[in-house]
Symmetry: C2
Subunit: 321 residues, 2 copies
């Protein structure tokens, strides 16, 4: 599936738990103007109004805006593109996000979850350009994967494919809120890393002062300390990388993809994480395929879901035409 | 992709480590006549001659035989359908199986590995009939998966997709010959089960006498004893089922398939294994999708690769026409 150049512009929107980023995108995925606001949580109406306002502001004086693409946290129904639920947004009931936004903006709206959007964005204009089979790993607070096979997003029977954060890699591991044990997310997600870093901190680590001052250490603190040379923080990064390497080995052995793209919040750390993962892949090998050959770092960085939202709309428009 | 009824008959061949089964198949996957021989190991020429003889015998007096399909152990090159290597057959070098057999039989030959063939067979005429996204788990001495997505076999970038036996589910687990630790195959494969069953056998278990007499217990012994009510054997089956349940949870969370089909040598035990796996899936749950809803038992049983070989040829003929 090629993305033929279309004429119109597309507003892409990345809806995260803390902020919403919106951008005016060209048909080639370049963001020409952008706006960022804090995410209105709990109340879906306020979020819909806020997103409609962002779209209106970006589209003002731009008659060629033809569609809106959204990458959002939460589970998106693949059929009607409603958001089925989102713990991150505080929504426990389905929200007809597409229908509500189309009514408010008067534009066609296309929605997918943020990790799927990131996968489509990297495929169209990022680290997966020119490659038809790829796995995009979004490693942030949680962990998810977007799966592109044969140039198309693979969503599974009910839209739940790619829940790699709940791949069990240590069956004697710590319990996960999903009900299982040893899921990747409770071992290698940003939340898990922060929790590991907040307990049993050696006194000579820079993290000790942070834990004392803030009460808890964040994943970002760990990466900053590791980059500054803190040995304890570097051990924690290596440990996270070890778990991610195992997950990548599993992905490579199951999918044999052309590329595995490491993205998400924890990957926005220069090359620190991807370098550590590549090192860990030196002793966790693929069976027939070397995971190191497939692994690349995100090219779109923190814009993956935003640029990807433009790709979501492009695919949506093409499927209609 | 539908399998339109073709006119000709197809000879299907299942090449295993110990025996080769060949059958004369209708375009609807019914086996009308069959032959079984012991597998000539080590020498590829002898195997080619033996298979060509089986084809000739089945095709004798059958002018409508139009193709030969093979499901074989070992790695099959997705491009030229040579066998890249097969530890089970004792081949350490690539063998141009397709070219050799076409020269000997004068018929078009289509080859895939046995687990992929099993997946295609179940999809066309078995437990996956009418379903477009399915995972076929072949649990025998080793463990592999055949992945059908959108009605087509998914092989990955280099034909190595589906190596689920080397999915790490216990990162502190026992070493695997592949170089990693805690791979599914060293925990739940038939070889692993036999090894577990041959050590630390309680004196009151029926397996103790077998271990003494034979020197080692086989997976088959364990299932037979479990069916006869032996408590120790039943514990071993439950343990195998537990590992398989974790693997199925991982498959379900990653693929969200319509169906997971449990097949292979260890599944040829009535409902013993699938019942135990379904029980284990009661506490190892999918995150959004219940693994128990997706899980079904093989419909083709030990004929999966043989019937699947007919499907391999059908798909091959269709792709050509």
């Amino acid at each position: 599936v090629s993305l033929l150049p279309a004429r119109g512009l597309i507003v892409g929107v990345d809806i995260g738990a803390t902020k919403i980023a919106a951008g005016l995108g060209t048909p080639h995925g370049r963001i020409q103007a952008r706006l960022v606001i804090s995410t209105p949580r709990e109340d879906p109406d306020r979020l819909v109004t806020a997103v409609a306002d962002l779209v209106a502001e970006l589209a003002r004086g731009q008659p060629r805006v033809t569609a809106v693409g959204l990458g959002t946290c939460g589970r998106v129904d693949p059929v009607d593109q409603s958001v089925m639920s989102s713990i991150a947004l505080g929504w426990s009931r389905p929200v007809a996000l597409r229908a509500l936004l189309e009514a408010r903006t008067g534009l066609p709206v296309f929605i997918d979850n943020d990790v799927n959007a990131g996968a489509l964005g990297e495929h169209a204009w990022g680290a997966g350009h020119g490659v038809d089979d790829l796995i995009y790993l979004g490693v942030g607070t949680g962990i998810g994967a977007g799966i592109v096979l044969g140039g198309r997003l693979y969503r599974g029977a009910t839209g739940a494919a790619g829940e790699i954060g709940h791949m069990v890699i240590d069956l004697d591991g710590p319990p996960c809120p999903c009900g299982n044990r040893g899921c990747l997310e409770v071992l290698a997600g940003g939340k898990a890393l922060g929790a590991f870093a907040s307990t049993d901190v050696p006194g000579d680590s820079a993290l000790a002062a942070i834990a004392l001052g803030q009460g808890a250490v964040s994943a970002r603190d760990v990466f900053e300390a590791a980059r500054a040379g803190d040995a304890h923080a570097q051990r924690l990064v290596r440990r996270t990388a070890e778990y991610l390497a195992v997950a990548i080995v599993n992905v490579v052995n199951v999918f044999d993809p052309q590329r595995v793209i490491l993205g998400g919040g924890l990957a926005q750390t220069g090359d620190l994480l991807v370098t550590a993962v590549r090192e860990a892949l030196g002793h966790w090998t693929g069976c027939f395929v070397d995971g190191r050959k497939a692994l690349v770092s995100t090219a779109l960085g923190q814009d993956a879901a935003l640029v990807g939202a433009v790709a979501v709309a492009r695919h949506g428009l093409e499927a209609r035409s």
